[in-house]
Symmetry: C2
Subunit: 195 residues, 2 copies
């Protein structure tokens, strides 16, 4: 490959494959450069440090989670149904990642643990999407909440067991879907306008 | 010490001190026997394996969490106030353990991760205490729930971020108490009878 076509995207693509093969602890910028057949200097022109490259890889991975959720948040459906669809999608995406490739999931979990700011920004983005849905619900008259952003954060935190990677070991337990259904009913009962 | 006075309690007391010093990976039954100045055979008479001793240590530690909570669950106060007091106590106990001795907390967390059945029984016990409070609330007419045990489990799971050891890193974040207050209001709004 000539360096002229070495885009940030090509580097991230290669970094993902290298990380997948060697794991985050053993991967170096030199490994990524070698996989692309370029000098490590040309990688540093795009990513000034290994940490910057790692953060960009984490961001790309998390964007694959947040992008389809953003599409759901922006739909026109009634807020309560949209909120349920959003969480069903989040949980399905996370479970699929664990089931399809548990090792890659563990690798990304370790990367994300080191990329704290990127993860914080990701959670902030997801809570912003939830805020949008809850605000729509208040406008529609289906939800009654004083502070939509605080309620969005509360609903996100209340459901951590079903989507936070530290709880991935519980996602295949029997009864997990019934547990979510009961919790969801409780949360909706808390958000919905009383008849 | 003569073996005649070697009770299970004395062994567990010694095992805790040895675990604290060496950590769970390096502690052996022989170390515990040495600390008590007895043969390891006399330990095995009380605990047939290292796993049995480890489980008993975990159980003792977790009992120190559940016992004061049981006292709150059995009080005569109105259910909503009692439920809040129960969670405030759970969160305070967990935070105190982390702050007072982070290394010992990490040690016990590693022990608990290996003692899955003991932890499951502990969570079952806590959810049973919560069920008792919620059933009282239904009888009083303050809560409206179809299945008190399912709701108890849901409230416990919804608050994991504030008491599950995997989230201990977040307990000192600014805003954590406000986060809990918002979540609590949402959960209470879901449980309470509508006026």
């Amino acid at each position: 490959m000539t360096e002229a076509v070495l885009t940030a995207d090509r580097i991230l693509e290669a970094a993902e494959q290298v990380l997948r093969r060697f794991g985050p602890a053993k991967t170096t910028v030199v490994d990524v450069a070698r996989a692309l057949n370029v000098s490590h200097g040309s990688i540093y022109r795009h990513f000034p440090s290994k940490a910057a490259l790692r953060d960009a890889v984490a961001q790309r991975w998390l964007h694959r989670v947040s992008a389809p959720l953003q599409a759901i948040a922006a739909q026109q459906a009634p807020a309560p149904a949209r909120l349920k669809k959003w969480f069903d999608a989040l949980i399905a995406i996370k479970r699929r990642k664990v089931l399809d490739d548990p090792e890659l999931f563990a690798t990304y979990h370790r990367i994300a643990e080191q990329a704290g700011d990127v993860v914080d920004a990701h959670v902030h983005e997801l809570v912003t999407q939830l805020t949008q849905i809850i605000e729509d619900g208040v406008r529609e008259g289906s939800f009654v909440v004083a502070d939509p952003r605080a309620s969005a954060a509360a609903v996100f935190q209340a459901t951590l067991r079903f989507h936070h990677p530290v709880h991935a070991g519980e996602w295949l337990k029997p009864g997990i879907d019934e547990d979510f259904a009961t919790l969801w009913q409780l949360l909706m009962s808390g958000l919905m306008k009383r008849p």
